[in-house]
């Protein structure tokens, strides 16, 4: 079974998740519990105790977030960035990150509304 560990590095939160579908819920919970938390996440994925390369799951993570109310409505609007820990050797590990440019003054969409285009830009490889 694939499981995940999410880190909010600036906020100091670390949360194991059984499924990526829990990610938006966790983000909402974190924001409600710790207003102003950084909104910058690092995610690691594991099959058993073996870490899994993000190439096999990062697209799912992105899709999950695109579809989630927490992102669509901009509630996690404070500079959301998802960094997926890459796999490789030492310092040459690969990172991906994305940031939705959601203005703080943007009116949130109604709850549950909208299936249109995500505000998230495409998954972007930023370093290798």
């Amino acid at each position: 079974m694939r499981r995940y560990v999410v880190h909010d590095l600036r906020g100091g939160l670390r949360e194991p998740l059984d499924d990526l579908s829990e990610l938006p819920e966790f983000m909402e919970w974190a924001e409600a519990e710790y207003p102003g938390i950084s909104g910058e996440l690092m995610i690691r994925a594991f099959d058993g105790d073996r870490e899994v390369a993000p190439s096999s799951w990062a697209t799912d993570a992105l899709g999950t977030l695109r579809e989630s109310r927490v992102v669509r409505t901009g509630r996690w609007r404070s500079e959301l960035a998802l960094t997926v820990r890459g796999f490789g050797t030492g310092w040459s590990n690969v990172f991906w990150s994305f940031r939705p440019q959601i203005a703080a003054t943007e009116t949130p969409a109604p709850r549950g509304a909208g299936t249109g285009e995500s505000r998230l830009p495409s998954l972007q490889r930023v370093a290798s």
Partner: protein
């Protein structure tokens, strides 16, 4: 929104056989093992005058904060250190973790208990008086270059 995770309560178990665990510590400037490396999450936050940050499981079971984070293997701890370090480098920000990794060799009767929640990255909670851990430190290595042994 589901606030909790309905996770099982802590199951603190004393170690039944010699068991190494690995803890992030600040040791580059002074690698002599000391009690403040092993403060519980609660005690460490109190020392900083803060409320401890709790994830959902820790909100449900605040007794977990009577313990502190350790890792099951050296590789688990190093992978975590590397991941956070790479993130900091990428962002041009300071490293969020202490600079070193201490190996603590727990033994039956040492006064330390472990709560193992089966987390995939090897994270465990260890609970015991800080002074109980100090003499059990077997090795301290720099996180950035694990070949650099700082202690003993």
């Amino acid at each position: 929104m589901r606030m909790g995770k309905n996770s099982p309560p802590p199951d603190w178990r004393e170690v039944a056989r010699p068991t190494p665990v690995f803890r992030f510590v600040t040791a580059i400037s002074d690698s002599t093992p000391r009690q403040d490396w092993f403060l519980s999450d609660q005690a460490a936050a109190a020392l900083r005058g803060e409320e401890p940050r709790r994830n959902r499981v820790e909100k449900e079971h605040s007794e977990l904060l009577e313990g502190m984070s350790v890792f099951r293997t050296k590789e688990d701890a190093q992978a975590e250190w590397d991941a956070v370090s790479q993130k900091a480098t990428q962002k041009g920000e300071p490293m969020q973790l202490p600079d070193s990794i201490a190996e603590v060799m727990l033994a039956p009767g040492c006064g330390v208990s472990i709560d193992d929640r089966g987390e995939p990255d090897g994270h465990l909670y260890a609970k015991g008086a800080p002074e109980a851990f100090v003499p059990l430190v077997a090795d301290v290595r720099a996180g950035e270059d694990p070949a650099v042994r700082l202690y003993p």
